[in-house]
Amino acid sequence: MITQPATRGADSELVSASLTEPEAFAELFDRYSAMLYRYVSKRLGPEPAEDLVGETFLIAFSRRRSYDLAMPDARPWLFGILTKLISRHHRGEAARYRALLRAPVEAEVESPADRVAAGVSAQAVRAELAGALAALPAKDRDVLLLIAWGDLTYEETARALAIPIGTVRSRLNRGRRKVRAALGDANPLEEE
């Protein structure tokens, strides 16, 4: 008589279930807290990450009634909340990138596997990349990093930031142009 669902249900089902059984929301935490933590740790470092992830879920929970249940995937929603929280730290974020720009980049690479995966050339340009990120306007940086570090698609990014997809494209292009310019200056050997 008792049957288990064969596949994991959509996030929207959890949100819907949490309306009557609030503890169902904890399952969303289990699904995405690690992903969000990694994302914040890239942008702001590990110190504020734990708190920001917790805050993101508290806010999401308090707004769960306004969640659009037609959207099965809750990631854009969670990333959107998190992005707003990160924006309060944007000075810290830029300062962090600039610090990395001055510091020896190698110190950031801890394991040999990282070294291999990232490649020597990437190591050489990290300082320039970090510098370019620090110089980007916050809005362009949000778009660029949701796509590059958050693994969101254009559509998902548009949903997360509540902006039209055309705006996502233009911000992304602008951000990438600046990044490429910084790289081009630093790394002519990479040009093909």
């Binding site: 008589m1 008792i2 049957t3 288990q4 959509a10 929207s12 089902e13 819907s16 309306l19 009557t20 059984e21 609030p22 503890e23 929301f25 904890a26 935490f29 289990d30 807290s33 690690a34 933590y37 990694r38 740790s41 890239k42 942008r43 470092g45 590990p46 990450a49 734990e50 708190d51 992830v53 917790g54 879920f57 508290l58 929970f61 308090s62 009634r65 249940l69 990395l100 950031e108 690479v109 990282d114 995966a117 990232a118 490649g119 990437a122 340009v125 990290r126 990349l129 660029l144 990093l145 796509i147 590059a148 570090w149 990044v179 490429r180 790289l183 790394n187 990479e190 040009e191 093909e192």
Partner: protein, 338 residues
Amino acid sequence: MDDLKLLRDLGTAFEHEPPATLARQRERLLRARPRGGGVGRWVSWWTAGLVAAATAVAVVVPTVLIGDRHPAAPPAGTDSVDVSGAMNVLLIGSDTRQGAGNVEYGPRMADAGAHSDTIVILHVPADRGSAVAVSVPRDSIVRIPRCGSSPAREDMINSAYRTGGAGCLRTTLETLTGLTIRHTVEVDFAGFKKVVDALGGVQVTLPRPVDDRMAKLRLPAGRSMLDGEQALGYVRLRRYGAEGSDISRIKRQQELVLATLQRLRDALFDPGRLRAFLGVMHESVRTDLSPEAMYELAVGMSETKLTFMTVPWRPHPDDPNRLAWQQPDAAELFKSLE
């Protein structure tokens, strides 16, 4: 040169794995109280809410209505009515399957008497600060005392209502729980149907499509707006949901209560719909509370926090399709309500 790949590599270099202490944030979430007021105030995260649509709508809805700053005018001739002090109210969602609105759902059962489909004991403490709605699963096998011509027996609790009406169910519950039940409120399924229609339908989200001939219901997966008829079919579905049992049915009812309350909040800003709703409420509810008393009670409870609970239960040792109350937990729960 792929700038996005280089950026990703940079991200990998910056990335930190979540520490074990991240679990503290999960605890923080679980301790959280929902912010703000309005519909569905929860005293606790841990309330396994099993409250059924019709009855909870009957009592909670006026509460919400009046609790919101909105001009729900008191019924004419309202004088002060004494509904003060702690009290327990028995809420019954009945399934008489009689009358023009109901007979099509079970013509063969027309003579089988009324079933209490939904049984809730609403406990309201004297200070009205918080109320507890305790659902009693209708499949509970309990000791039913002698009422009228029916002898005392062990049976499903809803048979007390079928054979002896609200009075017998009340006596049975008073004996079982040790509580004094001051009032009863009954809502018929047909009434529930009208309530939903008066609100312009309710929205549900289904994980799987429904095609149930017994409940006369066919719905796609995902979001659907249900009219009264469909909402009723949805509540009655039995072969849907993981447990395929009364418990998953009760969960759906509760879902529907919240969806209904949500609709009601919208209706607050639509005077036409609100009037239709109040009219339907009035004619769909059978109770020994006068309209004035209900109004007083609702006003008194406008700031009350409501917790949904269910009688602690386990599968019945003789019949896994029936439930037995879990003791001493059940007794302790009711003792805490005295």
